[in-house]
């Protein structure tokens, strides 16, 4: 466990040195600027729009971090041969993979936490300056705890994306890993359509293929509850727990697959 934590710490340090936290600053500036503009252009709807925008921005910035760091986590080490000295130390290839994953997830959580705090500050400011009659018209309070459910599920979704990027990074180039990960992220949001493919095409082979892909590809649509929480709609706790459990299983499978691939690799 200590070894995994050491590798994770090194990943976090590298992300800090590579100025990844700058994304948080960019996020805060974007959100504050957008809030100002939106409050000038809309009447009454500005809070909902800010909530939508804030949650979407957290998700997009997180996605950028997950993909662009994730794809280089292993392949960069192999290409630059830094893995040679590291793997001669007392750590297994499995610990290396788990440490890399844990490090990037920690980086993500720190970044997303900071973005969430910036988001909360903007919402608190809007709450403070809003007139009582405007506030009365809001379907949900500005600092609605349901927003945290949205952020939590975004973190879980990005943990799956990170595991995907890491998996591809164990055997392919950074560019191919980025394309595959982004492709699967897009496909993951339309995965539900594959389940009901027979409604579109009545060819048994294609239907079975679509059904197989449905189970193989990540199902990311349930992680997107941004519209619901922005509008103050409750997300059932059972659904949230089921989605988190799905994420845990999918991530575990991807990590096992990543370790299996990486264990067999020759480093020429």
């Amino acid at each position: 466990m200590r070894t995994i934590a050491l590798v994770a710490g090194a990943v976090f340090k590298e992300s800090v040195r590579d100025r990844v936290p700058y994304s948080m600053v960019a996020f805060a500036v974007l959100l504050i600027a957008a809030s100002y503009l939106i409050s000038q252009l809309t009447a009454g709807q500005d809070l909902k729009i800010i909530k939508d925008l804030g949650l979407a921005a957290i998700s997009w910035f997180g996605l950028l971090i997950a993909i662009f760091i994730g794809i280089g986590l292993v392949s960069k080490e192999v290409e630059r041969r830094s893995v040679f000295a590291l793997l001669s130390k007392p750590l297994t290839r499995g610990q290396f993979i788990l440490g890399k994953y844990a490090g990037l997830v920690f980086t993500l959580v720190v970044n997303l936490s900071a973005m969430t705090v910036a988001f909360a500050v903007v919402l608190a400011y809007m709450d403070a300056v809003a007139l009582p009659e405007v506030r009365a018209g809001w379907p949900a309070p500005a600092l609605d705890p349901r927003l945290l459910t949205g952020v939590l599920l975004t973190v879980a979704e990005l943990m799956i994306v990170t595991a995907l990027a890491l998996f591809f990074s164990t055997f392919s180039s950074p560019l191919l890993s980025a394309l595959l990960t982004f492709g699967l992220w897009v496909a993951g949001h339309f995965n539900q359509d594959l389940r009901n493919f027979e409604a579109v095409l009545d060819v048994p082979v294609m239907v079975w293929l679509a059904r197989g892909l449905y189970y193989l590809l990540p199902n990311l649509a349930p992680f997107n509850v941004r519209a619901e929480v922005a509008h103050g709609v409750d997300v059932p706790t059972g659904d949230v727990l089921l989605t988190l459990a799905y994420a845990a299983v999918y991530i575990a499978v991807l990590l096992v697959a990543s370790i299996a691939v990486f264990r067999r690799r020759d480093f020429k």
Binding site: S82, A85, K89, F267
Partner: protein, 316 residues
């Protein structure tokens, strides 16, 4: 107990995209290195030296055969705890300083607290990087990176050290420093297994060598066993050699070759008497600059054995 045991170790790589074919990089290598030995693993580029080292570090998996370090299979965590490895042309995280990198590695070895800083400081001083410890590695020269590589290989005070081309990228001073480091390791009782194509390093450091060519071990043993060390002649450098004396000496010299500044190098057969020859030179008014016996060197042996292996392979 041998420190390193390699048995019938082979490695094939697949080459070609459409119809991959196996290319044998290492062919049934069998070798044993005793504890406390400095073993030189020699061979031209592409002979399979780095492949062997990567197999020993389990960075590559063998096609067949096996290897053990300190009596345990390679890749065993208990083995990794007791070995050091310097890869060829090493690369390390360049966003870190040397001190940060070594601290990270020291913790992977299980060192904690004040021991980490003390050990890191000591090895950085040992490799001559004490003053640059807080510079980011991206600001380091190639030679400095090589020193960092040596430092990380010595961090855990290893019982067996594997060095892949340790002199690569170093200036003459750096090479001397590394030679001294290796001798200190030997004096401490550590086993040193190093690959090189610089034969003078092997001659001055090794108790035994193995010579690899085209993936095969063509010779292995003590330098005194490999090299006959028998006298092959004499090399005399002289100045102020008159034409008349040169003509007279030509009768019993193998070759007389003109050098710069009016000097000549004269090669005599082994049966020649150097004393009589020196007298003759003095009587003829020549001045002796140097006199050296010619013996077989590792380089001669290397050229012969590698050349023979190449000829066998190519059928020339």
């Amino acid at each position: 107990m041998p420190a390193i045991e390699i048995e019938e170790l082979s490695k094939d790589f697949l080459t070609g995209f459409w119809r991959p074919r196996p290319y044998r990089a290492l062919d049934r290598l069998t070798l044993s290195v005793d504890e406390g030995e400095v073993f030189g693993f020699l061979g031209p580029n592409g002979a399979g030296k780095s492949t062997t080292l990567k197999l020993l570090m389990q960075l590559l998996y063998p096609t067949s055969g096996s290897a053990r370090i300190l009596g345990r299979p390679v890749g065993d965590l208990a083995v990794k705890q007791r070995i050091g490895f310097l890869p060829e042309n090493p690369y390390f995280y360049d966003h870190l300083t040397a001190e940060e990198l070594l601290t990270y590695f020291a913790r992977l070895f299980g060192l904690r607290g004040a021991e980490v800083a003390a050990r890191v400081g000591r090895v950085l001083d040992d490799v001559g990087l004490g003053a640059e410890r807080r510079l980011r590695l991206r600001q380091y020269s190639k030679g400095m990176i090589q020193r960092v590589g040596l430092a990380q290989a010595l961090l855990n005070e290893p019982d067996v050290v594997f060095l892949d081309e340790p002199m690569s990228g170093l200036d003459p001073l750096g090479r001397r420093h590394v030679r001294q480091l290796m001798l200190r390791l030997r004096d401490r009782g550590a086993t040193v297994f190093f690959s090189s194509h610089i034969l003078s390093d092997a001659e001055s450091l090794c108790s035994r060598v193995g010579i690899l060519a085209q993936g095969r071990l063509v010779a292995s043993g003590r330098l005194s066993e490999i090299l006959a060390f028998e006298l092959r002649g004499w090399d005399v450098v002289v100045a102020h050699l008159s034409d008349e004396l040169r003509a007279r000496l030509a009768a019993h010299a193998r070759t007389i070759t003109a050098l710069s500044h009016g000097r000549y190098t004269i090669e005599l057969p082994p049966e020649a008497s150097p004393e009589a020859f020196l007298r003759e030179l003095a009587d003829g008014g020549a001045q002796v600059v140097s006199l050296n016996p010619l013996r077989e060197t590792l380089e001669d042996y290397f050229v012969q054995s590698v050349g023979a292996a190449t000829a066998r392979e190519t059928g020339l």
